[in-house]
């Protein structure tokens, strides 16, 4: 055992990227072993896994930014819900052109996120509490906007009967696959947002400020960093990515479900944490999150193709999350 620990502490093992990659490789190998009659070896399985995990991945992008500042965003699932409902309403019921509907949804997500950020920075309320309140409020808003029902292509008329409208083209496009059916559009959208986050964190000034605030907020403030503005920006970006996720979710379900995204925040946080970004803030990065997203995505897929019962799934997932986080711990 001590030899294992010795290996763990040698320099190349302590890089968080290597460790996150290690976790992913282990999960991948498990998939190769338990490949469910070869299902794991088909490209389609991997493509489907990417499709399914993309929505969560979008939430994880915003969550990464927020966690690096030392905060947390519990409202991601609810904002996804609002966005899914709004997008369906705008496209199906109001028949807006798709670009207007998309922009409107993105603005709604931005506004919700910025509101959380404002409450956290100006009024000094803890992120956990502020985003918890937003989580509840936004879910209620989604239900109110949708009247409690799913917004689908069956539009209720005044006399109680239903008229079936065709599915809007944008839904079909987002729900489709490109490159000779090899990759889903939502996966591309996820990767684009991942890239945007990476550029923000690594290449842009607000990204540097995000790390500084997470590392030592007071030192940042006394160095003239505009802490409040950066925090609002961070939560607004999270809201924006949630809105994108909601658009993708609605397109894939061909409807806007007010319950969409319920409990998704837990998965998003798990992906960020397993990737190696510390909840304390100041450390981590978006590529680590990608590794975490893939790790959890593959884990769920392997359990699914092997038709593992629900009870065992929950226990295994919980155990693996703990194991992955333990592997992440450095001796400082």
């Amino acid at each position: 055992m001590s030899k294992l620990l010795k290996i763990k502490n040698s320099s190349w093992m302590t890089s968080p990227t290597i460790r996150a990659l290690g976790a992913l490789i282990i999960v991948f190998v498990i998939g190769l072993i338990f490949n469910a009659d070869g299902a794991f070896l088909k490209w389609g399985t991997h493509r489907d896994m990417l499709r399914a995990v993309s929505v969560y991945g979008l939430l994880a992008c915003g969550m990464t930014l927020v966690i690096i500042t030392g905060g947390i965003d519990l409202s991601v699932g609810s904002i996804l819900g609002i966005s899914a409902v709004s997008f369906s309403l705008f496209c199906i019921h109001f028949s807006w052109p798709f670009y207007i509907a998309i922009i409107a949804c993105l603005l709604i997500g931005l506004a919700c996120g910025a509101a959380s950020g404002l409450i956290i920075s100006r009024f000094n309320i803890q992120p956990f509490i502020a985003t918890l309140a937003m989580m509840v409020f936004a879910r209620g808003l989604a239900k109110w906007m949708s009247g409690g029902q799913k917004i689908s292509t069956a539009v209720q008329q005044a006399d109680g009967t239903y008229k079936y409208v065709p599915v809007p083209d944008v839904f079909n496009f987002i729900n489709s696959k490109i490159l000779w059916n090899n990759i889903s559009v939502v996966t591309i959208i996820f990767l684009i947002c991942l890239l945007v986050s990476a550029v923000l964190l690594i290449k842009l000034r607000p990204g540097r400020y995000i790390y500084a605030i997470g590392g030592n907020e007071e030192a940042a403030r006394l160095s003239g960093v505009p802490v409040n503005a950066v925090k609002i920006l961070t939560y607004a970006m999270s809201g924006l990515f949630c809105a994108v996720a909601g658009i993708c979710q609605a397109s894939q379900e061909l409807q806007g479900d007010p319950e969409a995204g319920f409990t998704y925040e837990l998965s998003a946080i798990a992906m960020v944490v397993i990737g190696g970004t510390s909840l304390r803030g100041g450390r981590g990065g978006i590529w680590l999150t990608l590794l975490g997203v893939l790790t959890i995505g593959y884990l769920e897929k392997i359990l699914s193709i092997n038709a593992v019962g629900e009870d065992k799934r929950l226990m295994l997932t919980g155990a693996i999350i703990v194991a992955a986080v333990l592997l992440q711990k450095t001796k400082k």
Binding site: G207, R208, G214, N216, E218, S223, G224
Partner: protein, 510 residues
Amino acid sequence: MTDNTKSLLLKMSRISKSFGPVEVLADVNLDLYPGEVHILAGENGAGKSTLMKILGGVHTDYSGKIKIEGKETDFKSVQDATEAGVSIIHQELSLIGSLNVAENIFLGKEKSSYQWLDKSHMVEYSKGILKNFGLDIDPKRAVDEFPIGIQQMIEIAKALAFNAKIIVMDEPTSALTEPEVKKLFKIIDQLKEQGCSIVYITHKMEEIYSIADRITVLRDGEYIGTETAGNLPCEKLIQWMVGRELSQQFPRHTPHIGNVRLQANNIFVPAASTNPAPRVGNVSFSVKAGEILSIAGLQGSGNSELLNGIFGTYGKDTKGSVEIDGEKYKIDSPSKSIQRGLALLTNDRKSNGLVMDLSIIKNSTLACLPCYSRCFWLRPADERKAAKETTESLKLKAESLNQEVDSLSGGNQQKVVMAKWMQTNPKVLLLDEPTRGVDIGAKHEIYELMNQWTKDGIAIVLITSEMPELLAMSDRIMVMHRGKVTAQFSREEATQEKVLSAALGKRKPA
């Protein structure tokens, strides 16, 4: 007053302690007779707190002997010390606000049978204790419901609740009003009659001479001497506290002094939550280009708060006006101050001076990142170049500029902070303990830097608790005590005794 035939209650002999290579106590002695009030005096950093922490079982790694009532002791924990009858009243309140008074008094010594708390007993006992202090309060109420003065009394009651024989009081009156101080002194008298002894640490001259039986003086970790209060008048006490050889190692070259760069008027920093008195009350001063003005003061004097207030750390709570190079503006926030040309090097770089997770380069460019980013797009090559230049001019030694500042020595860390501020091209530099936690070699480099900066026309305001540094580097000295200015000296006028005297509260005669 001392009876040589009475046996000693406490004898600490040849106590020495080091933290790593730094020696903080060297062969210090302290003894107590029963029924005595013994003042432990010395400047900041003399070693008083460390000595008391050894007595109280906080530091267990020391050399020397401690005997209580003739028996040699070896405390392995605070618990051991408390059981031996030693009780320490700390400077910072150690009460837990959300718990009630009785729970606090019994913290760590809860009365229980088989783990079941005997609450009624604890409440009754507490009530009795508090009554002895003339405190008629309900022990079942939460501590944070009471004003700070009462809390301090509760802290004292807590320390005295369990038959302590040796009581250490570290600045116990910092938050008390006059009548409460009187109450405390009466209690001290009571304790003396019971045969208890008190080690009392304070910076207030009036208090020393009002209750002291004997006084022991420490200086720079060394034991200077012990005398009865009657045989140690104020001037001699001060001389014992500061009387060191002033060496000529500080190369202060006073350059040409120019116009006023910083003018601060009527600066008022309101009270913090722990103390009813305002931290800085109506202080005004000015600093010229090329000049170093030091603001001297002991703990609680408000000098650090003054600089922080001007810099905008407390935001708009700080009242008063600031002029830089003749332009007046209202105190707003750190970023506004930086724009105006102010820079503040704080006295605790780990807690608010550096972002430990970030690299040297990233820390050094943090205060003026817009200079290195066009339209939000960072230019790492420019940052690296600037960091390289600045750190070279500061003689910072590091393996790589990309390493995290956490891995640097104290002196080098301080240089990173200085690099950060130098990049903002400040007009006025506020330095709060710039050589704290820095080795002697780096200290000299910092003094040279200060010379260079003043040569470049920057105005410097300096806070330092090291007397030699203060006297050697200052062109002018302003002394503060409890939020107000008590004296101002020019470089020629200043002596250690004068400065310390003013810091202890004695106003300079007009």
